[in-house]
Subunit: 497 residues, 2 copies
């Protein structure tokens, strides 16, 4: 009897995957409903699962199964890609020693704690030495990874979030954006002032009404509550485990606008997870692609679909009915103005669709220079403010509203920021393709028909898992590589009409 | 540098324990809030953790650490007991092979599925062959365990639920109960008819009112919601993980009486878990004792404390206030009559405090005879009905109300039933001791002062973990072995006064 080494490899990997599935629920529970003082135990549980999964990934049996599987000739493309992905994970995992990872974990957690204090006190200097240490250690890690991956330091960190992402490509794309966005922004502001009279909504909406609206629209779009939930957490996210997709939001009685769009954004993530290929569950090839494509799905839903006039035309009657409101300000015309209002601000998470990429580009430039050693930590505040002035034409009053606003760097995250904007570009290019393929899609959405939309996403993106990388995926679907023209076209259509 | 093998052993065991901690949350989630169709993934996660924990417990390193630890002289009694408990688990786990466990798992799951149909159709014969197979396999398992534990077949199964429990002891105690209970029951029914006029409560109480009452009384007793939750599930239980104690109940608008007492019963379990010795967390010596002592804690709370006149005197104002009710039927006098009403019935889970042990004894006698080969499966219905007539003086109309009512045997559970009643006996003996120690305890409860009560339980039971077995524990606390006189005295006081 011939032993099927490939099947053995899948079985081994499945054991590791299922630990992460369990962690998905434990993380969700912690962020949503765990009793306030039960965190020590939860940390113990999660750390234990994490340590075990790493130990299991170091198992030499896995390497044996990999090398023997690679020699099997009759494998299909999914199986071949699966072997590659497991191998990469195995090699990266074995290249990093436990000591370094523990040092990084300690340094980032100390830095994050100090950041909370420093941000509150508007005191960059007090966190700077911690950040220096974090960067030093993550550069060591990047050095090890860059040898395995045969790439530069910053690219090695980008790889944590999206396979094959590289900073040359990003530079090219972001430079194109920079030749367009700052001037476009000025135009939009002038146009907006002249043409858009907004009726502000300041009504307080009870949280149970907001929740009901969110759930109603999620279901209409195609989210199946037999396979997921909507709950509350401090920071909205999409989590859970396989075929158990749990999204969260936060409610503000005085601002339903943001909460609702948050829910719809996370719905995009959740639909991606729920549409992954069942045949390849618990295998890396069946997993979602990295954060670029994940963000493309949430931004496709939020920016391309749900902030559109057509969607708001469809949603307005539900909003009025569930909130028990009526009048002009609750009509699609006004809602659309609200949901497409542009205003340069200091804070990334509050930014609109037009200014958001500028926030991202500033962070990208700075973090890349930090990792590549071109700038020093102490220079961050000045460089930050210089870029803000240059691209957004505003200058933060202090570092709390500036380089201290985001947690990312202070908890060791480098290489994540650019994926937000790349996701937005992907979303625009995908939406353009969909409109070509199904020219009536806007009308369908206006009527609340989401079936063709969701089927198209499932067929072209969700069901593909990690078979292709993000570059290949966009090329397969749209016939060309990532092209910022679709995003530009989208912005011009939406903001100068 | 001398290696501390005992510390190594603790570390190894902690890794296994923490998998069970994670399973605790995953089980709770499944029973309460998991999306309806997400069960396949959850089963995969739980099976994986279960398989890993067993594999880790087979690790030869553990045996090495056990034998080397046993030679260390400077260990304290906790550490010594801990080694014994881990060793026992190791040996039992290694004695059972995976094939047998898988066969049992398959047979019980098939039998349970058939049981659901057979119960509905009142057709014992259709499930009998499945039950025969389950018993055959569990007897093989018991045979293996009995060699390791050096005890009889049924005792080996009892051991799953309480260390050192044995059927000779149980026979002795249950026979004593049988010389008392059936006649006592007749007396109570006569007395009750003559002396107790109950004002029935048929008011519908909204579920959020019932929940508020439950949470209010839980908090008053001493449950800290910073370390736990109260939720809804089909079958009430106490679960969660270390310092994260989650109880559940089910609500019936037309019957708050049962839901409330269910909550208070589970609160007894939860307080036990929350009071376990922190120093020994994640070690078997720091764990709760078996089901007898666990049940003693829930029944102490429910039967000894919360069904008492004093407690209902304290609770009545909260009930009236939260339910927005008034009048005689909501006063302690009437509530006490309701909560101590005795009526022989067919169904164990609906039984009162007096008849409950008789239900248990019937099941104990039958299951012991089944495992020891004294009776055959097909004889169960007749024997069941014969015992019901003999002890409770009623005869079920059909097997659905008789030997098909409980899931236990059909899902392979043998040896669990007696622990319910042993727990009730422990509770009565413990309560008697407490009253001797703190004679004003009844008055304290009437005033809503639970601090001394909880402290006494914490000091004497909760904080002891598994340092002593249940026999030793009751002797240490009360100065004598389990003695049914306290239970008898309790019943006479409560039901013939």
């Amino acid at each position: 009897m011939k032993i099927n080494f490939y099947k053995n490899l899948e079985e081994k990997y499945k054991e590791i995957s299922l630990l992460y599935e369990a962690m998905g629920i434990l993380h969700w529970d912690r962020a949503t409903i765990m009793p306030k003082n039960s965190n020590n135990g939860r940390t113990d549980q999660l750390t234990n699962l994490y340590v075990l999964s790493h130990r299991m990934l170091k198992d030499k049996k896995i390497y044996e199964f990999i090398t023997k599987s690679e020699k099997i000739k009759k494998l299909n493309i999914w199986e071949k890609k699966n072997i590659n992905l497991i191998k990469k994970e195995y090699v990266l995992n074995n290249a990093l020693d436990k000591d370094l990872l523990e040092k990084i974990s300690k340094a980032t957690s100390e830095c994050e704690m100090q950041w909370r204090i420093s941000k509150e006190k508007n005191d960059f200097n007090s966190v700077a030495p911690y950040l220096e240490k974090v960067i030093k250690l993550r550069k060591i890690e990047a050095g090890i990874k860059s040898k395995v991956l045969n790439c530069g330091l910053y690219n090695a960190l980008l790889n944590d979030y999206e396979e094959n992402l590289n900073s040359n490509e990003i530079d090219k794309i972001f430079n194109q954006l920079l030749t367009f966005l700052p001037d476009f922004l000025k135009e939009v502001l002038v146009f907006q002032k002249k043409n858009k009279k907004i009726l502000n909504i300041k009504d307080e909406i009870p949280i149970n009404f907001q929740e009901k609206l969110g759930k109603t629209l999620m279901e209409k779009i195609g989210f199946d509550f037999l396979y997921g939930r909507l709950d509350i957490s401090m920071h909205p996210f999409c989590g859970g485990s396989y075929k158990d997709s749990r999204i969260t939001t936060r409610y503000n009685k005085a601002n339903f606008v943001e909460s609702l769009m948050g829910v719809l954004h996370e719905t995009g993530h959740a639909l991606y997870n729920l549409g992954l290929p069942e045949k390849w569950k618990y295998q890396p090839v069946g997993d979602a692609l990295g954060t670029v494509v994940h963000e493309s799905q949430s931004l496709f839903m939020e920016m391309q679909i749900c902030r559109s006039y057509e969607f708001l035309k469809f949603a307005s009657p539900f909003i009025k009915k569930i909130f028990k409101k009526s009048g002009k300000k609750w009509e699609a015309d006004n809602l659309y103005k609200i949901y497409t209002f542009v205003k340069p601000s200091y804070i990334r998470v509050d930014a609109d669709e037009v200014t958001y990429p500028l926030h991202v580009i500033i962070r990208y430039k700075i973090e890349k220079d930090l990792i590549e050693g071109n700038i020093k930590v102490k220079e961050i505040p000045n460089i930050w403010n210089m870029y803000m002035k240059k691209y957004l034409n505003i200058k933060p009053k202090n570092n709390t509203e500036g380089c201290l606003q985001d947690i990312h760097w202070y908890d060791g995250t480098f290489g994540y920021f650019p994926t937000y904007t790349l996701g937005a570009l992907y979303a625009a290019q995908l939406h353009n393709k969909l409109k070509n393929k199904i020219p009536t899609i806007g009308n369908q959405i206006k009527k609340g028909e989401f079936k063709n939309l969701i089927n198209w996403l499932r067929k072209n993106i969700h069901s593909k898992g990690s078979l292709s990388n993000s570059n290949e995926l966009i090329k397969n679907i749209t016939g060309e590589e990532l092209n910022i023209e679709y995003f530009k076209k989208h912005l011009i259509n939406r903001y100068l009409n």
